[in-house]
């Protein structure tokens, strides 16, 4: 059974159709890249999977681990193993990063019927994961993403992913705004988590990230549809030729 199965998905925002008959199948162990021009619907796909209000599926189906994803609330989806690294991570003044991480981890564990982590065990896990991502203690002490640079916010998303150990991680332009060093740190973070039982959907505008996170399958999203699917060489092709030909295809 595929981990994620999207069939003929149509999604409207404010009455406007953004995704139009989208199909995508992701199996455990795979890394998929979704590339496409700005405004093609990449973030819309990410949000509709995560369950954001206002992103209304009008037809089609999405199964996560065999279950209808639209029967689940966003927090249930997360506890079931779906993770979204936000394109624009939010700042939450007044909520300490440690409190946030701990509340999230324990909420997910509780929903799965697992015991809460002890404080020392939790701290140990955060320290380990943070260390690998070059996130210092001072960042952890601050409120979530408040005063973080763009790169720090993205690394914080990867830290959350590392701690929550999702089964499917959707990374929405996690590479945007990163310099090459930060990009490598983020890519290493992702690669460390690659595993047989886990899958990734890496959304990106540029090929650059895919030199470090090498995908199994590359899709081109344009005008709310997947217009082409290929191997990792498709990313290089897009880099060389741009999206122009696909944008034309998308015109009705």
């Amino acid at each position: 059974m595929p981990l994620l199965e999207i069939k003929n998905l149509h999604v409207k925002i404010d009455g406007k159709e953004i995704l139009k008959s989208l199909d995508l199948t992701v199996n455990a162990g795979e890394v998929h890249a979704i590339m496409g021009p700005n405004g093609s619907g990449k973030s819309t796909l990410a949000y509709v999977l995560a369950g954001k209000a206002g992103y209304e599926p009008t037809s089609g189906e999405v199964k996560f681990d065999g279950k209808n994803i639209f029967d689940m609330t966003p927090d249930e989806r997360a506890a079931a193993g779906l993770f979204l690294a936000f394109q624009y991570p939010l700042e939450i003044p007044g909520v300490a990063t440690m409190t946030f991480l701990r509340t999230a981890l324990n909420a997910q564990r509780k929903k799965r019927g697992e015991a809460e982590l002890s404080t020392p065990e939790f701290i140990k896990r955060v320290r380990e994961a943070a260390g690998k991502l070059n996130i210092d203690q001072d960042m952890l002490r601050r409120a979530v993403n408040v005063g973080f640079s763009g790169g720090e916010k993205k690394r914080n998303e990867i830290l959350q992913m590392a701690l929550l150990e999702p089964r499917l991680a959707v990374l929405d332009e996690t590479d945007s705004g990163l310099d090459i060093d930060a990009l490598k740190i983020v890519a290493d973070g992702v690669n460390r988590l690659r595993a047989l039982q886990r899958a990734f959907v890496v959304i990106t505008h540029y090929q650059r990230l895919l030199s470090y996170i090498v995908p199994d399958i590359v899709h081109v999203l344009s005008g709310g549809r997947i217009v082409k699917t290929g191997g990792k060489e498709l990313a290089l092709e897009l880099e060389a030729r741009g999206y122009a030909e696909y944008q034309e295809e998308a015109v009705e």
Binding site: A50, G51, K52, A53, T73, P74, D75, A78, A79, L84, F86, P89, L90, I92, P93, G94, V95, T99, F100, T103, A104, L105, A107, Q108, K111, A143, Q160, L164
Partner: protein
């Protein structure tokens, strides 16, 4: 045309006048104060300062003056003060407005600390009253006038120059089940360079529509460091009107915090006068209301002297059909140059039927000052909430986190760690009860 409540208050004063404690000077003070009430009546919405809290409409009847508490009421009061958890305080307990020595902790008073009941001080014609009583509370405020006219008991606390009182003084006002009225008046005089914290808490049972009118006059000497905390945890049907009137001396540090979570109708008045230069003050508050609760915090921060810094941060979380009011006026007098005063008031509406009224005002008569104010009111940010949901945090818990963060900005300003924790706990308990 008098309302039933106004008529009853006049009767109560006429009946009690001759047995209320105090010498002739105090009696004259009472008569003058009552005179204001007799002239103005209960404040109503056409009186600007009471625009949002129409006491004439909200106070349908005036309850009889509470008799001295019986043994059962005193016994019940032993369980009071739970909100403070394990904060080590020196308790001074008042039941239905009367000081109860046997419930209070008067042993081993720190050097420099003097504690009396107002009733005793009035009977003894304590000279401290002549010097201080009624000197700070605004005489033109009808709620204060009623308090002055009918005050029966309260605390009189003196802290000698240079003394440091480690244990916070906790004035614990408990209402028994009887639907009576109490008028308590306290006086706290902190001399030069002394350090103290005064917590004033008010609680009582739900199901009793008792009435409390409490006033506290606080003198903060030069270079003193004083924290005042008011906790309004009255029963769900209570009417609570209270006033803090303070004068703050030169180079003093002063913090005031109002935590309002109880009562059907609450009016919390703060009249602060920065009398000496170089004061650093933090005036904050957190209000949590649900059901049809109404709470009004009205603040006047009067910068008389130069070089004072004040920060005002007031937050309200309003659920159901609750109504939160904040009126904050910062006055900067002509000689108060270099005043640095910033006021922020924010309301978080958890329901579409909840209502927040914010009225910040600046009255500036000096030219070299830094003053500002801001007010916001709105619902929980859906984007932030979704971020938390997407991390697996259930909706109720996500909202609770965001509400705690919102109030945290005010509560984190409390310097006493134990008290800060206790209030954060009280917020958590309020949020739990919400579900």
């Amino acid at each position: 045309m008098k309302t039933a409540a106004e008529a009853a208050l006049a009767e109560a004063f006429a009946a009690a006048r001759d047995r209320l404690p105090g010498d002739d000077a105090v009696a004259a003070q009472r008569d003058a104060a009552f005179g204001l009430f007799a002239k103005e009546g209960l404040p109503h919405r056409r009186v600007e300062e009471w625009k949002y809290t129409d006491l004439r409409a909200l106070m349908r009847e005036a309850k009889p003056l509470a008799p001295p508490p019986d043994a059962a009421a005193k016994a019940r009061a032993k369980a009071a003060g739970a909100l403070l958890g394990d904060v080590e305080t020196r308790r001074l307990v008042f039941v239905d407005g009367a000081f109860v020595a046997e419930l209070s902790d008067l042993a081993h008073l720190e050097e420099g600390l003097t504690v009396d009941s107002l009733a005793d001080a009035l009977s003894d014609n304590d000279p401290v009253l002549t010097r201080h009583l009624g000197k700070l509370a605004p005489a033109n405020n009808v709620a204060v006038a009623l308090n002055t006219a009918l005050m029966g008991d309260g605390a009189v606390i003196r802290i000698a120059a240079g003394a440091t009182i480690e244990r916070p003084l906790h004035l614990l006002f408990v209402a028994s089940a009887k639907p009576d009225a109490s008028f308590v008046r306290s006086l706290v005089v902190v001399e030069r360079g002394a350090r103290a914290m005064v917590i004033e808490s008010h609680e009582g049972p739900a199901g009793s529509d008792y009435q409390v009118n409490a006033a506290l006059e606080l003198f903060v000497g030069d270079e003193a460091h004083v924290d005042h905390v008011k906790i309004v945890g009255e029963g769900a049907d209570a009417l609570h009107v209270s006033t803090l009137a303070a004068a703050i001396g030169a180079h003093a540090r002063f913090n005031a915090f109002s935590f309002i979570a109880g009562g059907a109708v609450v009016r919390n008045q703060l009249f602060l006068k920065f009398d000496g230069e170089g004061v650093v003050a933090g005036i904050r508050g957190a209000t949590l209301l649900n059901g049809r609760q109404h709470a009004d915090t009205t603040l006047v921060a009067d910068h008389v002297a130069a070089d004072c810094q004040s920060r005002e941060v007031f937050k309200a979380v309003l659920d159901n059909e609750a109504h939160g009011v904040f009126q904050g006026r910062i006055i900067v007098r002509r000689h108060a140059q270099k005043t640095d005063a910033k006021m922020m008031t924010q309301a978080l509406l958890l329901s579409e039927r909840a209502e927040a009224d914010n009225k910040p005002e600046l009255e500036i008569f000096a030219d070299d000052v830094q003053c500002g104010h801001g007010a916001t009111s709105g619902a929980i940010d859906d984007e932030l909430k979704f971020y938390l949901l997407a991390r697996g945090i259930p909706a109720a818990e996500a909202e609770a986190l965001l509400i705690q963060a919102f109030l945290g900005e005010a509560i984190e300003g409390i310097e006493h760690a134990g008290l800060r924790e206790a209030l954060l706990e009280a917020v958590a308990a309020w949020l739990k009860a919400r579900k």
